[in-house]
């Protein structure tokens, strides 16, 4: 266990700050703090987290998308401006080159900040039938030469699947046990305690947003919010700064199938939350803020 300052980047795909209304699954959802954030309202705080409404558009017209948004979060480079549009799905060659050269993992390795890790587990199928297109996070882990966590690690309590309950893994035939929110939080808190930088990625939110499934949205958001609260009570927030962010809005407005144009919430927890929150304006500021936290020891 390291005692030096550490950071957890908690990435949630497709979570924006929307207005209240019948199409926003957060509206009226009990126990949805700290994720239930509404446009123009002061959010309910949990463990003094500071919410920074963050611009995912980055000066480029159109609806913000995953590949360019995630590349921006993971590198600090304005990826949509670079390619001239918001790139959907998986990163293309231009974005992959950026990730390879500039990812937060690469930067921290160059600076000698470690240990660092990606908390998500990959199934054996990923290694045997390597997909042609990979996500920004996968590309970043590979380019930095980090080790992927596996289902075996997950079973050893040293990794989480993006669906932290393991339900999806079980449906895909993996031999894993179901986890509740407390158990999943325990695993992630342990990984954070052992590393100086930990990335965790969750993207069921985006899938539900596209599916426009209100019932499932409420269920998943309740569980995700609980996981987050359990995690925050287990972390040493004097040592660990938690930065939660998203690449674009989606699940907060189920009236449309597409991503929204809403700002995304960046929520910062920890003893350095105010200074960190003050320097974040758009998604390009996430990586520099992490570098700052991990290199400015005092």
């Amino acid at each position: 266990m390291t005692t030096e300052p550490s950071v957890l980047l908690f990435f949630i795909d497709g979570l924006g700050i929307g207005e209240r209304g019948p199409f926003n699954p957060f509206d009226g959802l009990p126990a949805a703090a700290p994720l239930a954030i509404f446009s123009g309202e002061s959010p309910e705080r949990f463990r003094d987290g500071i919410v920074v409404p963050t611009d995912p558009s980055l000066g480029v017209a159109g609806r913000p998308q995953s590949a360019s948004g995630q590349t921006t979060i993971l590198t600090g480079v304005n990826a949509p401006a670079l390619v001239g549009y918001h790139k959907q799905g998986f990163p293309n060659k231009a974005l992959l080159e950026i990730i390879e050269q500039h990812s937060i993992f690469r930067q921290l390795k160059q600076l000698g900040v470690g240990p660092i890790t990606f908390a998500n587990a990959y199934t054996s199928r990923f290694f045997s039938e390597r997909p042609r297109w990979v996500s920004a996070t996968t590309a970043a882990v590979e380019a930095a030469g980090l080790q992927f966590r596996t289902v075996a690690d997950l079973n050893d309590g040293a990794a989480l699947y993006q669906d932290f309950t393991n339900q999806l893994l079980i449906e895909r035939g993996e031999d894993v046990a179901l986890r509740n929110e407390e158990e999943a939080a325990e695993v992630l808190a342990r990984l954070c305690a052992a590393h100086r930088f930990t990335l965790y990625e969750y993207f069921i939110t985006d899938k539900i947003g596209h599916a426009q499934d209100m019932v499932l949205a409420k269920k998943v958001l309740t569980s995700l919010a609980r996981f987050l609260r359990e995690l925050l009570t287990r972390l040493d927030l004097d040592r660990t700064t938690v930065i939660l962010t998203s690449d674009h809005g989606n699940i907060e407005d189920l009236s449309i199938r597409n991503h929204t144009l809403h700002p995304v919430p960046t929520i910062v927890w920890g003893s350095k939350r105010e200074k960190t929150a003050a320097r974040i304006h758009d998604l390009t500021d996430i990586t520099p803020a992490i570098v700052e936290l991990l290199t400015n020891i005092n």
Binding site: G76, A81, L82, Q107, L111, A278, R279, P288, V291
Partner: protein
């Protein structure tokens, strides 16, 4: 050179010694000079921060002393201790010779001590400002603010003017221009520099907690107030408080803030007791103050109180001439911070930076340079250490730095067009154009003469 060096001008040996002993108990290192020439010698050798003139039986002597001191050190404060005399003669010495303060005997030690402290603070601030002016001349920097453009020089002048006072200052400018740095510089150059500097970002504090952050609270004032807490005003007492993003402060709280400014006292949440505070208030916003007023984001009466003095920071686009200085400064600073080998930028890397519009201002530039410093493994940061050009930048480059010719254009014509385009880029600087084209200056002149002969080039 200590900032607590004092010279006492006193012709009477015993009086001088007892005054010296008094000052020593207050932590001053005092030297007694018993005549004008000894006093002047001490000024030049010891570089004191203050003169205490205790010999005022004849004020003409004092006038002469102060005048001669001014010739050596124009900013050295002089405190005069005088026998009761006609107010007119004292006023004349004070006004004409620029005496910092005078006392009539018998001396009130508490007031005397307070005046000495303030005079010393002012003298130190003036000396440091002089150092900053020299730094600006030598390195193009003013404290932590970097840039020697006309726009930034105006900012430095305004900072110098306002720093020594206690006036409120409204700092405006786009996000990322360095408003907090300006606030810190004002604090560092003010007599309050050794007192606290507290900054609060109004956009980062939830509305429900902002009042408690600003004014503090008593135990049990609200749910979760487990213990008494001092607010920012109390923490900044005798020092400086920066209210960043003031335009994001809720209207109700703006009214309470106004009351605190006017009454110079705060009341913690849950308390009836007023606590007096002496705080210099600085405020910053990226909104246009008048527009914020019209949109109801800022109260008019509060703006009036904060906007006693205003400083507007230019965007990086408005001071593009500072970019290379700033970039090099950041490379040095960040390489040292991260213990990386990068020392300087290659010309192509610098030119890449020049092409960008920098909507995020210095903050964006800092982020880009920091990434390059981290990634670069050698001493020189190259173009490829930055991310590729954004697409609109590539368009600009295409228009400015490229030449498009149809396939099959005769080589002689390709050569001519390339030469003319390069001359256009170098603003007709033939030496530079020849360098870029990789030919000698003589060859370039020969080719231009040829074009002239063929009627393909007109010197007008």
């Amino acid at each position: 050179m200590s900032s607590r060096n004092v010279i006492i001008y006193e012709q009477d040996h015993h009086n001088g010694a007892s005054l010296r002993d008094l000052l020593a108990t207050w932590g001053y290192e005092a030297v007694v000079a018993e005549n004008i020439s000894a006093a002047l010698k001490a000024v030049s050798e010891l570089r004191p921060t203050l003169i205490v003139d205790n010999t005022s039986t004849k004020l003409t002597n004092d006038s002469q002393l102060v005048r001669e001191i001014r010739a050596q050190d124009v900013d050295l404060p002089v405190v005069l201790l005088a026998e009761p005399t006609s107010p007119e003669s004292l006023a004349q010495v004070v006004q004409q010779e620029g005496v910092y303060h005078y006392f009539e005997r018998p001396l009130d030690p508490d007031k005397f001590r307070l005046v000495l402290e303030r005079a010393i603070d002012l003298a130190v601030a003036k000396r440091e400002n002089e150092l900053l002016r020299r730094q600006l001349k030598d390195k193009g920097a003013f404290g932590e603010l970097v840039g020697s453009s006309e726009a930034m020089r105006k900012v430095y002048t305004l900072i110098e003017q306002v720093a020594p006072s206690s006036a409120s200052v409204l700092i405006t400018g786009e996000s990322g221009t360095g408003k907090e740095l300006v606030a810190r510089t004002i604090h560092k150059m003010s007599p309050r520099k050794h007192k606290p500097f507290v900054a609060i970002n109004c956009s980062a504090i939830p509305e429900s907690l902002m009042e408690s952050e600003l004014f503090g609270h008593e135990k049990g004032a609200f749910t979760g107030a487990a213990s008494r807490r001092q607010g920012c005003f109390e923490l900044a007492d005798t020092g400086t408080l920066l209210l960043d993003e003031i335009g994001e402060m809720p209207a109700l709280l703006q009214a309470k803030l106004l009351r605190v400014i006017e009454e110079r006292a705060v009341r913690r949440l849950g308390s009836r007791k007023e606590i007096e505070v002496d705080v210099r208030l600085l405020a910053a916003t990226n909104r246009h103050p008048q527009q914020a007023l019209e949109e109801g984001k800022l109260r008019g009466d509060l703006l009036y109180r904060l906007n006693v003095f205003s400083i507007h920071l230019p965007s990086l686009e408005e001071r593009k001439e500072d970019l290379s200085l700033l970039a090099q400064h950041l490379v040095t600073q960040l390489a040292e911070k991260h213990n990386r080998p990068a020392r300087f930028l290659s010309p192509s890397a610098l030119s890449a930076l020049q092409f960008h519009a920098w909507p995020g201002n210095v903050r964006e530039l800092r982020n880009v340079i920091e990434r390059a410093v981290i990634i670069c493994s050698g001493e020189q940061i190259e173009r490829h250490h930055f991310a590729p050009y954004p697409i609109e930048q590539r368009e600009r480059l295409r228009n400015e730095d490229t030449l498009s010719l149809p396939v099959g254009t005769p080589l002689e014509e390709v050569e001519r067009q390339m030469i003319m385009r390069t001359l256009q880029k170098t603003k007709n600087n033939k030496t530079r154009a020849a360098e870029l084209l990789g030919i000698s200056l003589k060859t370039l002149h020969n080719k231009l003469n040829l074009y002239r002969e063929r009627g393909l080039l007109h010197d007008d």
